[in-house]
Symmetry: C2
Subunit: 276 residues, 2 copies
């Protein structure tokens, strides 16, 4: 990956993680997938969301393959907004969301992948993980709860787990929503300034914010160690919300198109059947 | 309940089940909640869906109350379509759907409410059950697998289970999507005639169709035995899909309004805080 990213055949190539990289080489302000003015972009997002709905229908009708979208990012990076707008045309029947918070006592009593395995997509399903098993290779090392060796081991365990899923029919797409510290400052301040948004704010958010550089390093290591052809990581410039939605919607549409899902199968036994 | 149903103060009164009733007293073709032409109705559905989204946001922000929508009806009665269109403006984050199919061996090894209890809404959540525990007081008696006494006992168990949920903050709304046998015939035939819809069709649907009168009787008994002020059953005329969506959207909006959810709480500790 380098500064020149856009290629005509695969516009995502420059944003797909392949081995070691630095997040500072990615501009969170960039809008490489924006075309035209805001109105044009909104129209395009609508079209992509509609296409995504049609592809999800096909995924569901086929009842075999699965799609798992993993969303990671710092507080306020736009995980919730992504889900709302990228799936604005998809029936609630067609997309399921699992959110991962600080593990409960029951969850901590098992290996860190236990709670994730419980909510993998079923055949025909499109599933979104709002945060994920990656929290366990970010929060613990940043806070010194586990050392580098243990972090490396967990990344290997993640790779093995994700191989199990991809080997059994799941396409995995992982997106890191990349915002700048300044953008986060604006968004957190907006929550503080609007009493109706106080419930979204926690003082703990400010503590995590102080660890920004450490989190960026942890993300760089984790993403480099776990990005594969079958389950790639993408860095999504996310200061611009509309661009973020466009890029992820297009990524999902392309991913589903590349899965070459067969159209629903006709059942020849039904030919000429009259319902009485 | 009688023929004259609409009252100015509570338009749903005539459709709320209160004790014994006959489904034949309800016209599946009726469109009591339709106003104006189709375009006007679509505009109103959009407005209701948008209002529902705002109310769901408030439910979520409050993080205390829960809403459970139970959808029941014969094959093709429109359960999936209801979910798609009533929640067309709601983020996938805001509504979770659980679908109940024929119980698995694991599920049959427990009481019939076990699998339902596992997916009750959590605090702040709006949950839809696409079919439900009511299947267990419909399919078994129609097929003679359980007798009247056992059916009655199960209805009492359902009432106790639902009381537990309502006592602990869950508002329950139960809708029976009421279509005519002729309408089902049309819809099943449309599935047969369109190869792209064959995957939605099962020959078993025709067997169930033959038991239509028995199912209507089973529904009448089950609904009458389990409709309460805290967890009422509504009969939704559902031959007209747009009307069905309008009526259920309005019912949910009213229900959430009646829950008098407090606006999100400001946190006075955040007054004047500057994010650095």
């Amino acid at each position: 990956m380098g500064k020149a990213r856009a290629t005509s055949d695969d516009p995502f190539k420059g944003y797909r993680v392949k081995g070691k990289f630095k997040l500072r080489d990615f501009d969170p302000e960039a809008t490489p997938f924006a075309r035209g003015d805001e109105a044009a972009q909104r129209t395009r997002l609508d079209a992509l969301a509609t296409e995504l709905d049609a592809l999800q229908d096909r995924l569901h009708a086929g009842g075999e393959r699965k799609l798992l979208l993993v969303l990671q990012g710092m507080d306020t990076s736009g995980k919730d907004g992504t889900i709302r707008w990228v799936f604005s045309k998809t029936s609630p029947l067609g997309v399921r969301v699992a959110a991962f918070k600080a593990p409960t006592e029951e969850e901590r009593a098992r290996d860190f992948l236990w709670r994730c395995h419980a909510v993998v997509p079923r055949a025909g399903e499109l599933m979104v993980w709002n945060r994920s098993h990656y929290e366990d290779v970010l929060v613990p090392p940043v806070n010194g709860w586990i050392d580098k060796d243990e972090t490396t081991r967990r990344c290997e365990q993640i790779n093995a787990f994700e191989s199990l899923l991809t080997d059994t029919g799941t396409q995995i797409v992982k997106c890191f929503l990349h915002i700048s510290p300044d953008e986060q400052k604006k968004r957190l301040q907006a929550r503080v300034d609007d009493p109706a948004k106080h419930w979204k704010f926690s003082m703990g958010d400010l503590e995590v914010r102080k660890q920004w550089p450490q989190y960026m390093r942890a993300y760089e290591r984790a993403l480099a160690a776990t990005s594969s052809a079958a389950a790639p990581w993408y860095v999504i410039p996310a200061n611009d919300k509309l661009h973020r939605n466009l890029m992820i919607a297009e990524l999902l549409v392309r991913t589903l198109q590349n899965m070459k899902l067969a159209p629903p199968q006709a059942n020849s036994a039904l030919a000429g059947l009259r319902v009485e």
